[in-house]
Subunit: 131 residues, 4 copies
């Protein structure tokens, strides 16, 4: 859980943000639960504390965690809900890629299949039967 790839083009702090959001949305991290401290995570991931701090700051800013001096960081109330909203915004990303492909003459069915594969493919995790 929460592995980061130091050589990815995606900034480390973003990987951390997304990793934590993923843990929240999947229920691995529960609301009001305390997160590992910045220094702890820093040691754990082999990443500079400032980098973790930046990730936490971003999460805090978005109301996904609450952090306070001397107290530590906690998953905020309704965090999962907020993450879901944030993810919903990515739908427009799909729409804009699709529009680009549409213009280039790629068949619509191919894209629809890609989406269906993502939802029904073998790669779906065990959460399906939970919901």
């Amino acid at each position: 859980m929460l592995v980061i790839d130091k050589f990815s083009r995606k900034p480390i702090y973003e990987q951390i943000v997304e990793g934590i959001e993923r843990d929240i949305v999947m229920g691995i991290l529960r609301e009001r639960e305390q997160l590992p401290s910045i220094r702890e995570l820093s040691a754990l991931l082999g990443v500079n504390p400032n980098t973790i701090q930046k990730a936490f700051q971003e999460l805090d800013r978005n109301g996904i965690i609450i952090s306070g001096q001397g107290r530590g960081c906690f998953v905020a109330d309704h965090a999962a809900q907020r993450v879901r909203e944030k993810l919903s915004a990515r739908i427009s990303e799909i729409e804009s890629i699709a529009a680009e492909l549409a213009r280039a003459g790629i068949e619509e069915e191919k894209l629809l299949d890609a989406v269906r594969r993502a939802y029904h493919g073998k790669n779906n995790d065990e959460r399906k039967e939970i919901l």
Copy 2:
């Protein structure tokens, strides 16, 4: 044709690459046709020549244009085809975003609708994200 937005998040050279690819795939630029020179484009778009240069390099590297030294740049044979192949690769991008949203519990129908909107909706303006 080929407007660039200096205030977009997207790197300028990338906007140029995509703009030219779009023109090729839509038949506005035809195979073996000569492209404007770097200096011309630079003046036309109000963009640093180095930036145009970088875009052309990228297109050359992908076999979409041929840029011999001194003789100017030409649309490569089968360029449209190659662009289409390149774009097809973006389907997997959609699939991976879809997988992420699936994991977060976003409904499949929302994504399918986004794709359909892109194909059948009016006003498919790719520059939406530019702000």
Copy 3:
């Protein structure tokens, strides 16, 4: 009386200070009355004793409580009066915020309304900013 919110942005010791001041000014705590001991309060609020200690120090420093060693803490004479003076100082805080908003072109009436709402409105819950 005196609930603290561990998830608030406001430091816990500050919440305690303000809570006690509020109780004094509202007559819930009377002058010369003894306050609960640090250990008691600590247990009661689920808060680190050092934090209570810090809050009491602050109150002592401002002459609002008297904390002799070992004998416990007592509400000081004229405590309510001092709290009121301290609060009056916050009027200048309002003035400086108002000046800032004035400079930005916010309408005066909006601020006057905010004040009137605070005095005449229902449901004046200070803990609004807590999230």
Copy 4:
């Protein structure tokens, strides 16, 4: 214009954010105008580039400036408007202070006067006749 106080309790980066916002709302910085580069400001203010960067990042995040690699930072379209909205949010700050003072028995008229002073006092800058 844009002086910072290194010894203030308010973080330097916040002072910079507010200073720039103030300049925007007062029309000193106009929309689409380029800001000084991070390194320039850094030298100018005697502050570490990272600190400036943090301030700019915050402004960017709020859509008040737009910054892009290699391009520099620019005041965003509708920046002044956004700043004004952000400031409007501070009215609730006034309301919550007012509520606190109301509870303590401070007279309403004192607060109203404070607001009026801010709007009609001698401290008002020259922008009054401009609007």
